[in-house]
């Protein structure tokens, strides 16, 4: 309940800010962006985030699960460590280095965002699978479930809330990082923000930043809802008397 109140008041504030700045029209010699332009950049922004996060899920979830399987556990420090390094390099640097490697354009932006968004998904998939009580797996094996049945019917449902949380965190972070994509030729709300930076117009910067924040908060809220919806009912209950 409290979460919902915070969410709605923040959203109202940010939308109000955007409407106000857009309605000003002129800022010195610069004109503010129109609603049409904001909408187009928002679409581009979402498009970029969507592609990057999808690739991160497609790579991160299977890899996170794979490194918990017997025979692959030795890889886990390398893989998790690698993803950690990717995360610890400043986002600006990750994005900037893509231009000389892949040229200017959407592809560079998406690859950079993918690298940056991979870690939360990979780490949570790994942690989600690892956090399952080994007795549950042993019971499942002892009752004659095959490996694949154990993954599908037992491990994935139990790890799903944690994996979903990773996807949510990754998405929210990527929406923010995607602001910088404009530097390597990606389009998005960063275009507005950067224009504001070059024009030395704080309100123009805010005209790009506010919609980005709206996106991040809304996506976080929606994915949080999906996360809770996808959590098996038995896991939401508090541990009973024992």
């Amino acid at each position: 309940m409290r979460r919902r109140v915070v969410f709605i008041s923040l959203l109202t504030l940010l939308i109000g800010l955007t409407i106000w700045i857009t309605s000003i029209g002129k800022l010195g010699i610069y004109s503010t962006f129109t609603y049409g332009e904001i909408l187009t950049y928002t679409k581009d922004h979402l498009n970029m985030v969507f592609i990057a996060v999808c690739i991160a899920i497609a790579v991160g979830v299977p890899f996170g699960i794979l490194i918990t399987r017997p025979g692959f556990t030795k890889l886990s420090p390398i893989v998790i460590g690698g993803a950690n390094v990717g995360q610890s390099v400043p986002s600006l640097a990750v994005i900037a280095i893509m231009a000389p490697l892949l040229g200017f354009g959407l592809q560079s932006a998406v690859v950079a965002l993918f690298i940056y968004g991979l870690l939360p998904i990979l780490r949570n998939s790994y942690a989600g699978m690892r956090s399952i009580n080994p007795a549950i797996i042993e019971a499942a094996r002892g009752m004659g479930m095959t490996r694949w049945q154990i993954i599908r019917k037992i491990e994935l449902p139990l790890a799903r809330p944690v994996i979903m949380a990773g996807i949510r965190i990754s998405t929210v972070v990527t929406v923010g990082t995607a602001e910088l994509a404009v530097l390597v030729g990606g389009k998005g709300l960063g275009t507005i923000t950067l224009t504001g930076v070059f024009a030395r117009q704080p309100l123009l910067i805010l005209q790009g930043a506010a919609p980005t924040a709206i996106l991040a908060i809304s996506l976080g809220f929606i994915l949080g809802g999906i996360e809770s919806w996808m959590t098996p009912r038995g896991l939401k209950l508090k541990t009973g008397i024992s």
Binding site: N133, A135, I136, A139, A140, M143, G144, M145, P232, G234
Partner: protein
């Protein structure tokens, strides 16, 4: 029937967990694997359903080499219950119990019916519990569901690894007794792993005592207690083995029956005379129907003329099927030297005295040692 033949397990690091183990578990028997930790009891058990691969030797299940059976097929026909239970927390109690039936392709109605039956068997109300989640249950209830789940597809064999180990002592004793009653109904071939000698004596038709991966003695509990094969067994059984033997005897085997009785209208002098003859210091008082209504004690005889005047209304009794240590404990805590023993419908069946208990134990020890 399960037959182990020269069963050996050596781990890749060279540890010998089980060495040349050979014995047979008869159909319908509850066989306890007993021993200190690291004796190989759990390893041996897990080789039966191949959770642990065999290094050498064979395990035959009803004459079939268990490595010749498909792994999943083998396990679906052997019930499996462990100390940590491992209930699937994202599934309801019903879904948990239906796991193996579902794997075997039973229809939904068949599975549901089976789950209800099994909940009844472990004395949980199906209507109340079938749709609950494991996190809503107490420890004892979870353990019952674990046992019910192991019985899911009615497997002829059951493997149980310290199934009551994580439960508080009071609930544990109750679960043990209940499980014994269940076993009398279902007559499964059961391997029951424990390190608790009391549990082993109480549960086992036969006990396989192991040490450092080897079988030391394989015998019914009485033989283990009274005819220990070597010093290790003697030590493991403990110096109080005669006391532990109390668990092996039932009240009905030891009580004096038919008991001397008194009627309410009988005169005190008559009773005094009979007490001296029988050498017992109190008589149970019964109605004409044979129903127990109280006791009359020697020390009270001077206080009245007929039994009715001095009767002590009796509430302390024991049933014929109780084990001897329960009865003894009742006698010690109530201060009664003569304990009336009643049937399930509270008819007087006999009396139990300290003398009788002592005689019975002495006999058990002697016959055991002589054999």
């Amino acid at each position: 029937m399960i037959k182990l033949e020269n069963l050996t397990k050596i781990y890749p690091d060279g540890t010998v967990a089980v060495k040349e183990m050979s014995f047979e578990v008869k159909e319908g028997e509850l066989c306890v694997f007993l021993g200190p930790s690291g004796c190989g009891k759990t390893t041996t058990m897990k080789m039966i359903n191949r959770l642990i691969p065999i290094t050498s030797g064979k395990i035959y299940i009803d004459g079939v080499d268990n490595t010749k059976i498909d792994e999943s097929e083998l396990r679906r026909n052997i019930g499996y219950a462990i100390q940590e239970i491992g209930l699937f927390t994202h599934m309801t109690v019903g879904q948990n119990i239906e796991t193996v039936p579902a794997l075997k392709g039973w229809t939904k109605t068949e599975r549901r019916k089976r789950a209800e039956e099994l909940l009844e068997l472990v004395r949980m109300n199906p209507d109340e519990f079938i749709d609950k989640y494991p996190n809503e249950l107490s420890g004892g209830q979870r353990q019952r569901v674990g046992v019910a789940r192991a019985l899911g597809a009615d497997p002829p064999i059951l493997l149980m690894d310290e199934p009551f180990g994580a439960i508080d002592p009071i609930n544990r004793v109750e679960l043990q007794s209940e499980f014994l009653k269940i076993q009398q109904k279902i007559k499964k071939t059961i391997i029951f792993v424990t390190h608790d000698i009391y549990e082993a004596i109480k549960m086992g038709d036969r006990i396989a005592l192991m040490k450092e991966g080897k079988l030391v003695q394989y015998d019914p509990p009485a033989n283990l207690l009274y005819r220990p094969k070597d010093e290790f067994v003697e030590g493991f059984v403990g110096a109080d083995r005669a006391l532990k033997g109390l668990q092996l005897l039932r009240v009905k085997e030891v009580m004096t029956s038919p008991p001397p009785t008194a009627k309410v209208e009988e005169r005190v002098e008559v009773i005094r005379e009979r007490m001296e003859q029988e050498g017992i210091d109190s008589f149970p008082v019964v109605e004409n129907s044979g129903k127990l209504i109280g006791l009359v004690a020697e020390s009270d005889l001077g206080k009245g003329k007929v039994v009715k005047d001095i009767i002590i209304p009796s509430s302390t009794t024991c049933t014929v099927n109780a084990v001897l240590n329960e009865a003894l404990s009742v006698m010690l805590s109530s201060g009664l030297k003569t304990l009336p023993i009643v049937s399930e419908d509270s008819k007087l069946e006999g009396v139990l005295t300290f003398d009788a208990i002592q005689k019975a134990l002495h006999e058990a020890v002697q016959t055991g040692e002589k054999k």
